[in-house]
């Protein structure tokens, strides 16, 4: 328990450091978001409007950096991340909350499927060396060495196009309004198939490979021989003795990969013009949209930290050796 509290304190500190960096970095970058907004409106803004924009974005030069920093924290705790420039006048929190579910559902579900599938195949490949499952390895390793955005482009080129079942871009048919109904959900699923497949194919081999290698390592442990000698069923030895021990590194890897769900598949979303967080980040970057960038970085930071915490908890649950008494 003490260990756990130490971890939490550590993560709180990391969160503070990350959020502070998140505050300073955009302010150190040359260039000015209001200028880019002025450029966007092609000089049709009056000087009063420009001044009020500076105030609105908290960029009026009267406030000291320290004061801005304090205001920034206050806003974060109120869930107010400022206004987006690109989607002006929508608040950043609203832009993010629209984009986030797309990413979380697409990449989240794909990551879970990839982990389960890869780990399962890895157990088979490692336990029955030289079987058909082992033969999968070169194929999956080949696909994982191909950059996944390139895989996405190839997938669009080969499978999508006029008249194809697979749409080449977007998250749903343009004629539909996002809602939980029988028109929208099938369309959303249909649109997510290609990006999901791309991510799955490129990520599954990592899980297979690491699980297989751990299985092979664990299979030569003494307790595996003991389990065989005890006359336990092959299945029990493979699952409860071998896989249970081999799983440990993979589970922490999985927890960590959950943290990269939010920010890790930027390129897939860009290739497929998928309305997720990565695509939004691209737009924010193009428009020097500081508040939106900060907001997205904040979400990414928090999700990585939460995933780390999850990894710690998973390890505590799975490996009794990491639990300390008292």
């Amino acid at each position: 328990m003490r260990y756990f509290l130490q971890r939490i304190a550590f993560y709180l500190f990391t969160a503070w450091a990350a959020i502070t960096l998140n505050f300073f970095i955009p302010r150190l970058v040359p260039g000015d978001p209001v200028q880019s907004l002025i450029a966007k409106y092609r000089g049709q803004l009056s000087s009063e409007a420009i001044q009020s924009l500076y105030v609105l974005f908290g960029l009026d030069k009267q406030e000291s950096l320290w004061q801005q920093y304090l205001d920034y924290w206050k806003q974060i705790f109120q869930g107010d991340l400022g206004l987006s420039f690109t989607f002006f006048p929508a608040p950043v929190s609203q832009v993010i909350s629209q984009a986030l579910p797309w990413t979380v559902l697409l990449v989240g579900i794909t990551t879970i499927i990839s982990f389960l599938l890869g780990t399962g195949l890895g157990v088979l490949a490692g336990w029955r060396r030289g079987s058909w499952a082992d033969g999968l390895l070169p194929v999956t390793t080949f696909f994982s060495s191909v950059p996944y955005f390139w895989l996405g482009i190839i997938a669009i080129y080969l499978l999508a196009g006029p008249g194809s079942f697979f749409p080449s871009s977007g998250g749903f048919d343009s004629g539909l309004v996002p809602a939980w109904d029988q028109y929208f959900i099938p369309s959303a699923i249909q649109h997510s198939l290609l990006p999901a497949l791309t991510i799955l194919i490129s990520s599954v081999s990592g899980w297979i490979l690491s699980m297989r290698n751990m299985m092979v390592t664990v299979a030569s442990e003494d307790y595996i021989t003991v389990a065989h000698a005890k006359g336990l069923s092959e299945r029990r030895v493979a699952v409860s003795y071998a896989a249970r021990n081999a799983l440990l590194p993979n589970v922490s890897g999985f927890a960590l990969s959950l943290g990269f769900i939010v920010g890790g598949t930027l390129l897939v979303e860009i290739v497929f013009s998928y309305p997720g967080l990565g695509f939004t980040l691209l737009q924010a970057l193009g428009a020097k949209d500081y508040p939106l960038m900060q907001g997205i970085f904040l979400v990414i930071t928090i999700s990585v930290l939460v995933a780390n915490l999850l990894a710690d908890v998973a390890y505590l649950l799975l490996d009794p050796r990491t639990r300390k008494e008292g």
Partner: protein, 334 residues
């Protein structure tokens, strides 16, 4: 002598296949009698552990049994060949008839399961009808038997000391009341005080429960004290087999003499300790004839050319002993 419980007949074990196979165990015949402790001694690489894994069919790949039989005599039924059992029958045979205590006291327990789980899963596998309550009761009973407080049932292996873990393994080995317990260097990872304690306890348990033991070690001094009969292995073959006291007092094979000369006696006159010159043979390139001849101080004409047959020596008092050496040729050799 009492009736046999396990008969190894002409067992051959190779590592690898074809021409490049390494013959780790060659033509070994050995009989374990009911209630006896049979010691198996030899240097590292002499094939003693391979023999133990071979007779329970636990050889890790690329180990293959290329010949021989292992005849097991159950208490009531008729004897059968372990090497010919189907996978299902083999699983039933394992642990219930022949349990093993392995060398690695530290690594024999699964680190992620409580010892209660590891004690009871073997009961569940062999007797699915047994209730959870009686499984737990049996596990507690076994812990008590090996001198561990039953409230350590919920401990994980890393919470136990090396000695306690090896006791748990011994308790686990006895949980199904097997006829044969194979001890593969059960105390190598422990300090000498703990070794003595655990072995003493084991011998006491054996007297109480009446199982037979195959005790594998390179420590001949332990065997002289704890076993009834000793078989000495060299280069995958048994070179001498005799009652423990006979070997100790009057070893015939020069290799056995060498092993006995390499540890000090506790009582009696001081004597010069002597090692065996050279190193154990490379199993892939075994010397011709008697494989010990390049290191043997007494080697003479027939040794490099012809393999001596294991048999009762014609010259010495041959009561219950066999040796494979040209100095003491067996009747069949002549």
């Amino acid at each position: 002598m009492s009736e046999p419980v396990l008969e190894i007949r002409n067992l051959d074990v190779d590592y690898g296949l074809g021409d490049r196979a390494v013959h780790a165990v060659r033509d070994v015949s050995l009989t374990l009698h009911r209630g006896e402790v049979l010691g198996l001694a030899g240097e590292s690489g002499s094939g003693k552990s391979t023999l133990a894994y071979g007779l329970t069919r636990l050889l890790p790949p690329p180990g293959v049994i290329t010949g021989g039989q292992v005849i097991y005599h159950p208490e009531k039924d008729s004897p059968y060949d372990v090497l010919a059992l189907s996978d299902r029958k083999l699983r039933e045979f394992r642990w219930a008839e022949t349990a093993i205590v392995f060398q690695g006291a530290m690594n024999s327990l699964n680190p992620v399961h409580k010892i209660s789980t590891q004690l009871t899963d073997v009961l569940r596998a062999h007797d699915p009808a047994m209730s959870e309550h009686s499984r737990n009761a049996r596990a507690r009973e076994m812990l008590k038997l090996v001198g561990i407080s039953p409230d350590r049932m919920d401990a994980y292996p890393h919470q136990l000391s090396g000695g306690m873990r090896q006791r748990v393994m011994i308790g686990m080995a006895l949980i199904l009341q097997p006829q044969v317990v194979i001890m593969d260097e059960p105390t190598t990872a422990l300090d000498v005080v703990m070794q003595r304690q655990i072995l003493g306890q084991l011998i006491e348990l054996r007297e109480r429960l009446g199982f037979s033991v195959i005790f594998i070690t390179h420590d001949l001094s332990l065997l002289v004290e704890f076993s009834n009969r000793i078989a000495i292995m060299y280069g995958g073959r048994i070179v001498e087999e005799a009652p423990a006291s006979t070997i100790y007092r009057n070893a015939l094979h020069p290799y056995s003499e060498g092993l006995l000369g390499s540890f000090p006696a506790l009582r009696g006159p001081k004597r010069e300790l002597a090692g065996i010159p050279g190193s154990p043979p490379d199993l892939a390139g075994m010397p011709s004839g008697c494989s010990f001849h390049p290191r043997c101080p007494k080697a003479f004409d027939p040794c490099p050319t012809t393999v001596p047959v294991l048999g009762p020596p014609a010259d010495a008092n041959a009561a219950g002993r066999t040796v494979a050496c040209w100095l003491h040729p067996a009747l069949e050799n002549r």
